[in-house]
Amino acid sequence: MIDRRQLLRAGLALGAAGTGTAALAACAGTLPPIDTTADNFGAGATGSVTVWCRAATQTAIQAAAESFNALHDDLQVTVLPIPDAQYVTKLATSIRGGSVPDIVDFDLINCPLFSVREAFADITELVEALPFRDSLSAGHMGLASYEDRLYGIPFIGDYSTLFANTDLLARAGLALEEVSGSLESLLEACHTLKRELPEVAPWTFPGNASGAMGFTIQPMIWAADTDLIAGELGDQSGNVVGNDVVEAVLEFHRQLWVDELVPQRAFVEDGSQWGHDYRSGEVVFFPGAYGSAVAEAEESFRPSSQNVLLPGPTGGRATFSGGDNMCLLNGAPNPSGAWMFMRHTLELDVQRALPDSGYMPIRSDSADDAFAESYEQAVLPVTHLDEGYVPSTLAYNLLYNQSTSPWLAMIRRGVFDGDVPGAMAEAQSEYDRILTQTQL
């Protein structure tokens, strides 16, 4: 009697271990690469295509999928929204598990994480063959490339600009173009606004929203031709301590806070109410995105909401080239059909419809007269795609998007606690630590 039961028990344990190691063996490496240079690749495919998309940007891609499906009887696209916080892990585990979707449409900053590990198909030739290749957003293309090959295409743009309520500005006798040349002149303008219009706040920023501040404040640093990260992908370190521009930008925001030029809410705003105060006319200057400053605003408000690219402390202009890239996965079930859809999303009519969902096209040739009429605040970023930048690093999420990010800690310590040198020193060591930890 003992033997049989113990045997059963042992069998069970072995079975458990066996399944374990089997699963392990099945998920050791990466999936076989796709040859995109084959003849007939990307033409006449049938069946279905699965796309994972960001839950945050799903309206845009649903629209594109619908227009594509209408044009193709025998090739249908299905879109699966994935919550942002889970996206990278889910993609990684499914690559490991060997069952991937055809396309991923995700935050472009995540591209390097996967392209350095050969998860995406090399589509360099396909992209170079596009007639409008040169009008594609430089920032997006930068993140889609690795070692001079291309592994993705841009899809959606989200560019940060400085918005201003020109009605309120006019009441204080100010003009946007004049005062927005540098942070210095903007600070002056804010003081004027505070005097003339005491019932509104001159400026606002979301002091507890790491990602949103990364989106809107980093360009102020880039406008002066420097960045917080130094070095090439795979060999990077922090560039904070000793960086006068970073110091100037921190001081600018500290001044805004100390002189009460921003609402009290700036201390706690974590992005969930971002832009709310601007849209309700309580704030004059709002570094933000087209979505929160225009698309979500009342129709009557939009004309008075104008924008310029973000300036640096003493001049210069820059914008955060954000948004989504679309990448074809190695091991995709229907790669040819997938490229057909990807190609479709780059069409002008698809791109031009993006501002309806609050996003920007990634083709600089999208801005024709009709576009300018319907989406006037989108014209500026779209015609300046070349001035868009976004850092290419494997650590972007950890450095800028998480609530535990050193970026957020630096801003809060420098701006709200007033300890700029200390904030910068701490950020330097954290940046170094994280960048080293995420090297290949």
Binding site: R5, R9, A23, A56, L80, P83, R96, G97
Partner: protein, 283 residues
């Protein structure tokens, strides 16, 4: 159920006072939240004067309950998953509890110990290995996989409970039934049923509750939106996945999440309380 004589009257007043006080402490926040769910977002996010607090609306619930409700699906998914988990847990735990209690076989102590050990493992620790395992047999991104996962989560407690329940069944009862020729199945279903129903109800209820609020596992294993359960939907609302955070919806969703728990608990509570007490105390 009384095991003590009538209590002295001089403690009646403190009892009443404390009773009412604590009843309020424990129920007011819940009632307040329910009330909140009916307030429009302007009230929730603003600082209105007292009279405005009573401007009520159904709008927060419309996203969950109206005919074109996008959130109705998660609610239904949660219901299906939780009920299935409850049923499966009840069956498996009862069988196992019976086996561990009344049968002796080699390795039963070890097996029981292993099951208890699994209670102490924070499942966040084994989340990714578990994902890999489930993926290899196709259980990820499916409600069935979630049901099995939730069942496993609730099993140790259920087995513990049922084993203790069976332990209290006198051997004589079984012996006489065996003499009458009862097989195992008949034994369970006919003979022992009245004695074990409280335990079964408790296990089922416990499994339902743990499955209903389970969210990290669901978040990890489910990819397709159509399978999402209510806690995931609530998390998405809270982090503003679909745009700005809608606190009204968050509270309304929480209230909806609250209701089945309360209803089930109140109607089954005599089983639950006894089952928990009997099961745990014997430990």
């Amino acid at each position: 159920m009384m095991s003590r004589p009538v209590v002295k009257d001089r403690r009646a007043v403190p009892y009443a006072v404390l009773g009412v006080l604590f009843a309020l402490i424990f129920s007011l926040p819940l009632l307040w939240s329910i009330f909140r769910a009916f307030q429009p977002n302007e009230t929730i996010l603003g600082t209105p004067a007292i009279p405005e607090l009573f401007d009520l609306t159904w709008q927060n619930f419309s996203v969950f309950l109206s005919s074109d409700a996008v959130m109705l699906r998660p609610v239904l998914n949660s219901i299906v998953v939780s009920l299935s988990t409850a049923a499966l847990t009840a069956v498996v735990a009862t069988l196992a509890g019976y086996g561990f209690s009344k049968f002796s076989f080699g390795g039963s102590r070890l097996a029981f110990g292993l099951i208890l050990l699994s209670m102490m493992v924070p499942f966040q620790a084994i989340l990714t290995p578990l994902y890999l395992l489930m993926n290899s047999v196709g259980l990820t991104d499916s409600l069935l996989g979630l049901v099995l996962f939730s069942t496993n989560f609730a099993l140790p407690f259920g087995i513990f409970l049922m084993k203790n329940t069976f332990d209290t069944v006198p051997q004589a009862l079984e012996d006489s039934a065996i003499i009458d020729g009862a097989g195992t199945l008949r034994m369970l279903v006919e003979v022992l049923r009245p004695m074990i129903i409280p335990g079964i109800a408790s296990s089922a209820l416990y499994a339902f509750l743990t499955s209903w609020t389970e969210f990290l596992g669901a978040l990890t294993f489910l990819t397709t939106e159509k399978y999402f359960t209510l806690p995931i939907a609530l998390l998405n609302i809270q982090v503003g996945t679909y745009g700005e955070v809608d606190f009204g919806q968050l509270v309304a969703g929480s209230v909806i999440a609250m209701i089945p728990c309360v209803i089930l608990y109140v109607s089954l509570q005599r089983f639950y309380v006894q089952g928990l007490a009997a099961g745990a105390v014997k430990g």
